[in-house]
Symmetry: C2
Subunit: 365 residues, 2 copies
Amino acid sequence: MDPLEGRSVLVVGTGLVGTSVGLALTRAGVDVRLADAKPEILAEAVRLGAGRAEPEPGGDGAGRGPAALAVVAVPPEAVAAVVGEVLESGRAAYATDVASVKVLPTTQVRERVTDPGRYVGSHPMAGREISGPNAALADLFEGRPWVICPDDGTHQQAVTRALAVARLVGAVPMTMTAAEHDAAVALVSHAPHVVAALMAGRLAGAPGHEVRLAGPGVTDVTRIASGDPELWTEILTANAAAVRPVLEGLRTDLDRLMTALESPVTGQPVLRELLRGGNDGRSRLPGKHGAAHTEFVTVIVAVDDRPGQLARLFADAGAAGVNVEDVRIEHAPGQPLGLVELDVRPGAEQELAASLRERGWTLRG
Amino acid sequence: MDPLEGRSVLVVGTGLVGTSVGLALTRAGVDVRLADAKPEILAEAVRLGAGRAEPEPGGDGAGRGPAALAVVAVPPEAVAAVVGEVLESGRAAYATDVASVKVLPTTQVRERVTDPGRYVGSHPMAGREISGPNAALADLFEGRPWVICPDDGTHQQAVTRALAVARLVGAVPMTMTAAEHDAAVALVSHAPHVVAALMAGRLAGAPGHEVRLAGPGVTDVTRIASGDPELWTEILTANAAAVRPVLEGLRTDLDRLMTALESPVTGQPVLRELLRGGNDGRSRLPGKHGAAHTEFVTVIVAVDDRPGQLARLFADAGAAGVNVEDVRIEHAPGQPLGLVELDVRPGAEQELAASLRERGWTLRG
C-alpha cells in the first residue's frame, strides 16, 4: 500500500520546488502541510493550493502529530540545520531534501543531527529559470529523474517515504549514493556548463566578421552558457570536488589534441582517436524513452517568417504520417528565413521529403 | 550588368558542392560546363541537370572558348594543381575554389600557378552530412555566407565573377583575407567541434547511472560531436595553425577555472568572471535575421508520442497568433513522452500558454 496513504507530508520552504511538490502531492490526494520562514511566501503557496499552513506543533488533535515525511526545500548550506530542527522538534518522523548537490548536506546532517538515519538526501532533476512559488507547476517533476541517496545508516522508512513522494509527483525515482549523484551531475551537467561557458567566452572578444560566420553548431555548443553566473558560481563551488576530476580528464585530452595539432602528420592518429571517443560518448546519451541514442535522419525545410508557417509545416508532416523525432530551427544570416530541421527515423525521410515537396515546401541540405 | 551574363561557368568536381553550384547556376540561366575525373560522377551530375559536359578544349565554335570562371570543387590539397591546369590550359579565364580552409590552397596557388591573380579563394558555408552529386541541392547555398578571400595580387575580374556566382546561387557574399577566414572558422566551427568532441569523450567511459541523468544541456553541448572523425581529422589538420591559438585561449581559461575550484572562497570571483564572459560571448552570436542574439522566453509543452501531435501543437500555437522563434524537443527518460520547448518573444508567452492550455495542452516548467 502507499506508505503515505492517509498521512501528512510537511514541505519546508515554499519556493519553486517546494511549492511544486506541494501542488503535485495535493493533486495526488496527500495532506500537505506548508512552512516557510517568509510568511508572505507561505501565504502565496497556500493561496496557490499547494497545501495548508502547518498547524502549531505538538498536541494530537486531528491533523496534528508529526508528518510522515518532511521535504526540506532550502539552499544546500541550510539543509542540515532545518532537517535537524524538523526531526528533533517532532514536526516530522523522517526527512528528505531536494538540493542539487548531495554530499554537502548529507555530511552536515550526519555531523549535526541526533538520529541522521531518519534523513535521506534526494534531488529531483527539474527546475526553471524563474523562481518563487508563482513559478511552481504541479507537473514540474513528471518524467524527470528523482535521485534518492540512502547510506548504510538510513532507515528504510525514510527511503520508502521519499520514493513514495517521487512516484506521487510523477518523477522517475533512481537511487545512488550521494557521491555517485554528485559525480553524475558533475559529468552530465556541471562540466558541460563549464565547457559551454568557456567556449562562449572565446567569442566575447572576437572581431565581428568572425562571429558573423557562426552557424548552428557553435550555437548549440554554447546554448547553456546563457545561464545565471551567480547561480552557477554557487553550483560549481558546492560541487567543486566532483567537477574537478572531470575537468582534469578534459584538460588531459585537450593537451593531447593540441600537441597533435603541432605535428599534423604524426598527430592525426591522436586526432582520430579523440574524435572517435566523441562519437562513442555521444552515442551513450539517452535518446527517446531512455533507450540508447538513435541516429535520426534530418529533413531540412526553408520556412519564412510569418506566424503559422510552422503550424502548416507540422500539419503537412503529420499528414505524411511520419513521426517527427526532433526539431531544430536555425536562422540564415542576413535573411528573414528560417531553416527547420526535422529529425525522423532512417527510412522515413524520403516519404517525408516527397510529401513536403508535393505540398510546396522548399527542402534544403 | 551581371558579369556572367551570356558567359559560361566551368565547375570542376561534381560532388555535393560542385553539382549544387551547377544546379543553382543553371536555374539562374547561366551556361554551366561540368567536369569530373570520374566519368560516372560527371554523367550523374549532367543527368541531374547541373549543366552540360565540358566540350573539348580549344576551338572557338559556339559554346567553346574559355569559361568566364572555373569553380574548382575538389579537396583542399588538390585545389592548386587543378586551378593551375584549368587556367593555363585556357579552359577558364579566372578560377575560384570552395574548400573549407583558405590559407593552404591560396598559398599553394601562389607558389605553383603562373598568374595566381586569376584565382580567388572562396568558401560557401553550406554542406550536408551526405556527399556526392545525388546529395546536391539547387538551394544549398541560399541565405548561407559565401566567403571570398582576395589578396593584393587578385585581379578584380576574378573577385567580380566569384561574387556574381555567390549572388546567383542565393548566398550572402562576404569578403575577408584567407587568414581572417581560417581564423574565423577556427573560432566558430573548428574549436567548438573540438570542445564538443572532448566533452562527449568524457561520457564514453562513464557508468550507466551517470549517463542516465543526462538532460538537454549536455545533449546540445555535444551534438556536433557525432561528426565524421575522418573528415574532422582532415579539417583540424588543414587549419591547425588557426585552431591552436583558440584552443590555447580556452586552455588558459580552463586552468584559471580549475584553480578557482581548488579554493572555493577566493575562487568565486574568477568563476563569476568566466561565467559572465560566457554570457557575453553567447550574446554576440547572430540571432534571427543576422541581428544581435535575442533572448526568447520558452513555453514548454508535454506531448505524447503519436504522429500528428506536433502538427496539432503548432496549429494551436499558430491559432494563438504567436510567432514561434525556435523549437526544441527533449525526451523524458524512461517515458514515452516528449517535452516541446517553444521560444517566443518576451511578452508573447502568457498569450501562448493560455491559448495552449485552453486547447488542452499540458504546460511544463
